[in-house]
């Protein structure tokens, strides 16, 4: 396996370089007064930058897989996938931001921050070095803090930002202490070398375990894993809705990517598609417990929610629980599963947020009751309601939707890993989730709005996005060969 020096690595870094450039350029837009008045300039540049990023990542994908920057960053199929994922997520978020009334008055820096986080996602997913992990994580986190608090004059937004910063700072502090313990035990910061060390040398088990748990605090906070999830509901509620949508998909996926990469690379040994945990730590059982706790808490607390953003926050915690099963199953099936699940989650969760933004735009209210009677509010209302129904069904995991296929993949992995208790409790969890997802459907169709006026969803592009995501939800739920192929080529870690 090839470890490239800095100079040779630069070619691999081409896509990210474009994002860095875009980030800097957009920041300049706020300087000249007549530029900053043009509200479309920055998002257009951000879009162009992201599209270019995607195009270049297709180009670099053809390079042989390599470990770049002296072992800091790994360029493998897994990384390529997260480039694609980050780019798509960013594009949808840019679009949603343009359509949301909440962020209608933002300055250019808003778009720069979005691009910055997008940059952080593939970098985190590709990190092989503990310090690189920390840097990329902080890159995403710090920019997220600003975005969350972006609505300066809204109390909830500021409150959310403060909570986010406090939680984030604590979590990353704990994490870096954990990383230092791991470094102390193994004498290296490189994840691959950590594995090699643990295989061939005796290690201080307790210190290693504590170090790992503390590191998990950092990862867990990013993916809202119980018990590090407490920030999520408040932050999701307070942040501008498009930002919430972005946070619940993009950075979360990055968190999962690095969690899986770290566990698979540093703590397991590949034995022909089955990743056997190293002797010191039964990482499989540990993650299984975290997975179960996360999905159960998310699902049960979601039952009580009345605010659409808090509702989706707990739903996203529950989905983090499902995805965490991949960290417990430890096989190629699980890597494929989590990749498929992320794609499906991108489609259905972005869809749900898109409809939520439309509803918030229309009613000015974030309460679930704003959905009441949506199905009977004119053609646009019916359209939004049908789409939302599909997203809810998909989030529940019922066929024929992409969410079902995602669950199918993940539970396959768990069954193959023979963790039956997790499989049974996991599927029962999805029954619980049906109750609250169906509540939205019930509001939309079985109840009446206060005033049954036609739903305001104007223009062509926004409805098209919603329809497109809804169509994708069903289409990929029936014909998922293409996605299946993508997951197969992407589920490869260079280790």
């Amino acid at each position: 396996m090839e470890i490239l020096n800095n100079q040779d690595s630069l070619w691999y870094f081409l896509p990210e370089s474009v994002l860095i450039l875009t980030f800097v350029v957009i920041l300049l837009f706020d300087l000249p007064e007549n530029w900053s008045k043009n509200r479309l300039l920055a998002p257009i540049v951000a879009t162009i930058g992201t599209v270019l990023f995607l195009a270049l990542s297709f180009y670099t994908q053809q390079f042989p897989e390599a470990i770049t920057f002296h072992g800091m960053i790994i360029n493998d199929a897994f990384t390529d996938f997260f480039r694609l994922f980050a780019g798509l997520t960013a594009l949808i978020t840019i679009f949603l931001s343009l359509k949301s009334k909440e962020v209608a008055q933002v300055r250019a820096e808003y778009w720069a921050l979005l691009v910055g986080i997008t940059l952080g996602i593939p970098m985190l997913a590709a990190s092989n070095n503990l310090l690189m992990i920390y840097l990329a994580l902080e890159l995403i986190s710090i920019l997220s803090y600003i975005l969350v608090g972006y609505l300066h004059n809204t109390k909830t937004s500021s409150e959310a930002a403060v909570k986010y910063v406090l939680y984030g700072a604590t979590a990353s502090g704990v994490m870096i202490y954990g990383l230092s313990l791991i470094f102390g035990v193994t004498g290296t910061l490189n994840a691959i070398e950590i594995r090699q060390f643990l295989i061939s040398n005796p290690a201080e088990q307790l210190a290693l375990f504590i170090g790992l748990l503390m590191t998990l605090a950092g990862f867990g906070y990013k993916i809202s894993m119980v018990p590090f999830h407490m920030w999520a509901p408040d932050v999701y509620q307070g942040a501008p809705t498009p930002v919430t949508a972005f946070l619940s998909v993009g950075p979360k996926a990055a968190g999962f990517a690095i969690l899986l990469r770290f566990i698979y690379t540093a703590l397991t040994q590949d034995q022909g598609g089955v990743y056997v945990p190293l002797k010191y730590i039964d990482i499989s059982t540990l993650m299984a417990v975290f997975a179960l706790a996360t999905m159960t808490l998310g699902n049960f607390v979601a039952l009580q929610q009345t605010n659409i953003k808090r509702f989706l926050a707990y739903s996203s915690i529950a989905h983090a629980g499902y995805m965490l099963m991949a960290a417990a199953a430890l096989n190629t099936e699980a890597l494929r599963g989590v990749i498929f699940y992320m794609i499906s989650y991108l489609i259905m969760n972005m869809g749900a947020f898109a409809v939520a933004i439309a509803v918030i735009n229309d009613s000015g209210s974030e309460e679930l009751s704003a959905f009441k009677g949506l199905g009977n509010r004119g053609r646009k209302g019916a359209l939004a309601a049908v789409a939302m129904t599909l997203f809810m069904v998909s989030l529940t995991g019922l066929p024929p939707t992409v969410g079902f296929v995602g669950k199918f993949y993940l539970f396959s992995a768990v069954i193959e890993a023979k963790i039956y208790w997790l499989a049974v409790l996991g599927v029962l969890n999805s029954v619980v989730s049906l109750y609250y997802y169906a509540k939205i459907i019930k509001y939309m169709y079985f109840e009446e709005a206060k005033e049954q006026k036609p739903f305001a969803l104007t223009g062509f592009s926004f409805p098209s996005l919603i329809v497109g995501l809804a169509a994708a939800t069903v289409f990929f739920g029936i014909f998922w060969n293409a996605l299946s192929y993508l997951t197969e080529i992407s589920a490869h870690l260079l280790m």
């Binding site: 193959e416 049974v424 029954v431 049906l434 109750y435 019930k442 079985f446």
Partner: protein, 506 residues
């Protein structure tokens, strides 16, 4: 017969209708109704053709389509076919669906949505019975849930929301267990397959699948999943709520077709894929069957809501199916599947009858009626026929299947069967008592000018009544379709000690 994809047509024709209806403006109500009817006709005609062409001498799958690769990476195939176990259900589904479209003619509220969902439901039901690929089966199985949820939740009675979500949650709880079993069978079978025929080959069951405990866990997963649908006591509590709140046509579908999916699942999966465990667990099925029979009948007797009474009678009658299946005799098995068909036709009539009176009186309190036979004489005749069929009067189809079941099960379970037979008295009790309270006695003043049964309503009942009478005297046409497959199924259980069960009794 090369090579009309008959099963694909009968399964997906309703989807085409659904798309067509979604293009019709919602003001054109009659156009929507007629399109819906038209969309079910291919299925009905297909069912007639299947009835004519079905090869009654083989147990093998017929009208096979596929296997076409659908998702090669998981070896998932588009693979359809029917045999003696499923063919009667396919016919029943086509028949009941068409009748229900006609019975839904008077729906006014959000008509378009109603028929779109209805047709989607039909595709789901049909697909469940014709799929040979487990994954495909599961997709169809789940496809029914959402339309059903809406159909109960929007067009149902006062407590519709509660009933709808209860139905949804119960069924999904069952189906996730089926999903897990499906995955386990796939991963541990030699050659990784979802093919339901291939999975019957016990030599493919490798690794954990050869462990008795593991097979037992799988068996229970399937059993509970399907038992919720039947519903088997103690999973039956969703049924009275769903039936009572659902609009008439949907109650008919629920009782007529959906419940059979559970028992069909038993035969297709528990019996064929895990036969050894089925033999081990046969006492459970038999006892639960008898509990269903007696408990359902007693509950029915206690009801004052007409529709709830019919709902509980369904619980009771589905118990007969379980008892017949548990007998491990060819009479019992044939009786069980025949009972599935007969229950479909008879209970459909009962629910239609309740619907007719509810449309006029807007309540269903049995004690609130009386003397309807004088004001609506023709309606009373239809009712009497259906009631007698439900009681199992000789000469009507219900009698044949019940007798077959008792003949079979008495050999294996003499005591249990004796208890079950007593339900005949109970059934007669609640049915006749209802007949007396609703139709006989003094005519109530306010119901004096009720119009008698209309031509459309009678038209819904007519085919069902004809079938009930014909099968009552001449059950061969239906029995001959299932016989070969079921006898073979019964024989296939013998190596696992099915014969030992005889004489165990109680």
């Amino acid at each position: 017969m090369d090579k009309l994809p008959l099963l694909t047509i009968i399964t997906f024709a309703p989807i085409l209708g659904m798309i067509a209806i979604s293009l019709i403006p919602k003001e054109k109500k009659n156009a929507i109704r007629w399109s819906a009817l038209l969309a079910t006709l291919p299925s009905l005609l297909g069912a007639v053709k299947i009835f004519m062409d079905f090869d009654r001498t083989t147990k093998a799958m017929q009208f096979i389509e596929g296997p076409l690769n659908w998702i090669p990476s998981f070896n998932i195939q588009y693979h359809l076919g029917i045999d003696g176990i499923s063919v009667t259900m396919v016919i029943l589904t086509a028949l009941i669906s068409t009748i229900c479209i006609i019975a839904s003619w008077n729906i006014e509220k959000q008509l378009k949505g109603y028929f779109i969902l209805f047709l989607l439901l039909e595709t789901g039901m049909m697909g469940t019975f014709v799929a040979i690929d487990f994954f495909l089966f599961f997709i169809f199985w789940e496809l029914m849930l959402l339309p059903m949820y809406f159909l109960i939740g929007i067009w149902g009675g006062p407590r519709r929301e509660y009933a709808a979500i209860k139905f949804f949650l119960y069924t999904m709880a069952g189906s996730v267990l089926i999903l897990l079993v499906m995955l386990a069978l796939y991963f541990y079978s030699d050659g990784h397959t979802f093919n339901m025929i291939a999975l019957q080959d016990q030599s493919l069951h490798q690794g954990p699948l050869s462990s008795h405990t593991f097979r037992m866990a799988l068996w229970w997963g399937l059993f509970i999943g399907f038992a919720i649908k039947v519903p088997v006591f103690p999973f039956h509590t969703w049924l009275p709520d769903a039936h009572v709140e659902a609009p008439t046509a949907i109650s008919v579908i629920l009782a007529g077709v959906l419940l059979k999916m559970g028992t069909y699942g038993f035969l297709r999966f528990n019996y064929q894929i895990l036969p050894d465990i089925t033999v081990d667990m046969i006492q459970v099925i038999a006892v639960l069957g008898v509990i269903n029979i007696i408990y359902g009948a007693l509950c029915a007797m206690a009801q004052t809501d007409f529709k709830k009474l019919i709902a509980y009678s369904s619980v009771s009658h589905m118990g007969f199916v379980l008892l017949g299946m548990a007998s491990f005799t060819s009479e019992g098995l044939n009786g069980a599947v025949l009972q599935m068909f007969n229950h479909g036709t008879i209970t459909a009539q009962l629910f239609l009858i309740v619907g007719i009176i509810y449309d006029r009186a807007h309540h269903r309190d049995i004690n609130g009626f009386g003397g309807l036979a004088t004001t609506m004489p023709r309606y009373a005749v239809w009712t009497t026929l259906a009631f007698f069929a439900a009681i199992g009067l000789p000469g009507l189809s219900g009698f044949i299947s019940e007798v077959l079941i008792f003949l079979g099960s008495f050999k294996t379970w003499p005591w249990l069967t004796t208890i079950a037979v007593s339900s005949v008295v109970l059934t007669a009790g609640y049915m006749l008592w209802t007949l007396q309270r609703v139709y006989l006695g003094k005519t109530q003043e306010k119901y004096k000018d009720f119009p008698d049964i209309t031509r459309r309503e009678a038209f819904c009942l007519l085919p069902l009544a004809v079938i009930v009478i014909i099968l009552g005297v001449w059950p061969r046409p239906i029995l001959s379709m299932m016989e070969v497959s079921l006898n073979a199924l019964n024989q296939s259980l013998v190596p696992y000690g099915a014969h030992v069960a005889s004489g165990l009794g109680f």
